[in-house]
Amino acid sequence: MSDDVRSPQAADAPPARVAVTDAAAELLVRLRDKHGELMFHQSGGCCDGSSPMCYPDGDFITGDADVHLGDLAVGAERATFTVPVWMSRNQFEYWKHTHLTIDVVPGRGAGFSVEAPEGVRFLIRSRLFTDDEWEQLRV
């Protein structure tokens, strides 16, 4: 994984669960110009499953069945706007020990995610939380 990962957090806040690469952040800036405020919901299952799906915020209805993993801070000044990231609660049970970074790669995509027409696809890169991070997250 590259070192251009943004993972904003206050000094005493628990470690962020999600981050975004510069390339993905730049794409989010362009997508927001087109579609307005955005959100991610992490998919699972067949075909394009395991991909983060990006929608106009509110287009996908979240509820008690979902976990809000965090907000990506995106923009020229690092916090121009935020993009919330969600995942189904039952899926989170199997994913919670991993930190997720949203990246982007060339690709055809599918589903209703808004970046596909640009010829690119958001992609999740994962790493295990360190023991320290895990300890803080469990508190």
């Binding site: 067949c46 075909c47 189904s88 994913w95 599918a110 994962s126």
Partner: protein, 507 residues
């Protein structure tokens, strides 16, 4: 051994048009916005045609055509509709090799699979539903001596279908055959990775279907899929794909109060009990092939047996033999009939698989074979190839819990029967499963205990039209295949008739 010529080269039996419009009202119609997108072949990564990039205007036009065709199509006799389906089957059969090459070129899968599975199954599927619709009957309930409830099957009308890219023709046929048999008109959106093979088929069968009964609009999910799925002009939506889009489609459907069928994938356990290795005979060989089925279609199957559970006392020896069997899988030019594994369907798919190699290793899973991209030479150099991969680890690891959709199996061991079932069911999904044993009693008990819609027992990856297919748990809603699928494309009309002369007695 045969190596088919690539479409667009000399001697090719399948050739694509340089550009594909939408298929609406029985003919090609240019997209309203005039836009097209490129369609690369995963075999070499190079664009071979361009395809209409549809949006809400095109979906509307297709819905107009479907609504124009639906009433008359719904009134045709089942005899006539069955005849049309049988003629479609015959036409596919006549062009089977050509369609197989076309589909292989678009999807990247080996032609031995399209020749032996995708296309023959598509043919059989049309024939099965041609038969099923003719044999279907309504019912009569005799409420009392003078009161009868008649139940008639009626078509829903116009339905929407969103097709995945892993079996571009067969997955379309799974949805089209029952919908058409039941008398519905269809607006179908193929996956943007594989927009063309279904159009190749539509052209071949154009003279067999009344215009407007099947309409195909290509484009991206956000631009063409969403206006179809959220339209108030469809009476049902069918989707195969992943869970987030599945939920979104249900949300749209709830706004229009229409039914959905969803097939959303799985993480299928493939269980090998110790008696499999009681003899090194034909059955043992079959079981090893069953293990290796994770590489079928490059692992791009919703029911990919991507978790292998092997009983502890045969774990080491069976796994060693399984590694040998997996390493014998021949990777190469998908148009070569000797090739067993071809290219992943798209670059992003390849990238996703590679990202799972990273997380698998990071979680401490051990790579027994593969674990890397397959670099190919010559014409295939730009294609998306992955070496069949075996990971050894624990069921709690993410590679055991997520559908990688690549030729990747995660292997673990189990102690006894209860342990096997516990691990098998420790998943969000429940689409497919495999059970391998020489004991009929164990096979039956395991099959009933596994929470999955289909449990292949001493076989795997067989898809006959007469066997119901669909998911438990997060794997979806409804079924495909089998005559019960007709119910998903029909309304029930009840005529409650009184033959009595007297008043009912309330007023």
């Amino acid at each position: 051994m045969t190596v088919y010529a690539a479409p667009g080269t000399e001697g090719a039996i399948a050739n694509f048009r340089p550009r594909y419009d939408h298929w609406i009202g029985g003919e090609y119609v240019a997209p309203a916005n005039g836009q097209y997108f490129e369609n690369p072949s995963p075999v070499n990564g190079r664009t071979f045609t361009e395809v209409a990039r549809g949006d809400a205007d095109d979906i509307d036009m297709a819905l107009d055509a479907a609504h124009g065709a639906a009433p008359a199509w719904g009134r045709t006799s089942v005899t006539e509709r069955a005849l049309v389906l049988n003629k479609i089957a015959d036409r596919i059969e006549e062009h089977l090799e050509e369609l197989a090459v076309a589909e292989t070129w678009e999807n990247g899968k080996p032609v031995r699979e399209t020749l032996a599975a995708d296309l023959p199954l598509a043919v059989d599927h049309f024939r099965y539903f041609a038969g099923a619709i003719r044999a279907q009957e309504g019912s009569i309930s005799e409420i009392d001596g003078d009161t009868i409830a008649y139940h008639f099957h009626e078509p829903l009308g116009v339905v929407g279908q969103i097709i995945p890219w892993n079996f571009p023709i067969l997955m379309a046929v799974w949805k089209l055959a029952p919908a058409l048999a039941a008398g519905n008109a269809v607006v179908l959106k193929p996956a943007e990775q594989t927009p063309t093979s279904i159009l190749y088929l539509m052209e071949l069968i154009a003279d067999l279907l009344p215009p407007g009964v099947v309409n195909v609009v290509n484009g991206f999910g956000a631009e063409a899929g969403k206006p179809l799925a959220s339209s108030h002009r469809i009476r049902k939506i069918a989707f195969t794909g992943e869970t987030t889009t599945g939920r979104l489609i249900m949300q749209y459907a709830s706004q229009n109060i229409i039914p959905v069928t969803l097939e959303l994938g799985g993480k299928s356990p493939n269980i090998f009990f110790s008696d499999v290795a009681a003899a090194k005979d034909e059955f043992y060989d079959k079981a090893l092939e069953g293990f290796t089925m994770f590489a079928l279609n490059q692992g791009e199957v919703c029911t990919c047996p991507s978790r292998a559970l092997i009983q502890a006392d045969i774990y080491e020896s069976f796994l060693a033999d399984a590694v040998v069997r997996t390493e014998a899988v021949k990777q190469g030019n998908p148009l070569d009939t000797d090739t067993m594994i071809g290219a992943q369907a798209s670059n992003d798919q390849l990238e996703k698989i590679l990202s799972y190699f990273d997380i698998g290793r990071a979680e401490g899973a051990k790579v027994l074979t593969g674990g890397h991209r397959a670099e190919m030479d010559g014409d295939l150099a730009g294609g998306y190839y992955v070496t069949p991969t075996i990971f050894e680890g624990k069921n709690s690891m993410r590679i055991f819990q997520e559908e990688i959709f690549g030729p990747v199996v995660a292997v673990t061991e189990f102690g006894d029967f209860d342990d096997a079932i516990k691990v098998a069911n420790d998943t969000l999904y429940g689409l497919g499963a495999g059970v391998w044993t020489r004991s009929g009693a164990d096979a039956y008990r395991a099959g009933r205990a596994i929470e999955a819609g289909r449990v292949w027992t001493n076989c795997y990856h067989a898809y006959p039209a007469a066997a119901a297919f669909g998911g438990y748990k997060g794997s979806g809603v409804g079924r495909e295949n089998h005559k019960m699928m007709l119910d998903h494309y029909q309304q029930t009309k009840n005529l409650l008739v009184s033959y009595a002369q007297g008043a009912q007695g309330f007023f």
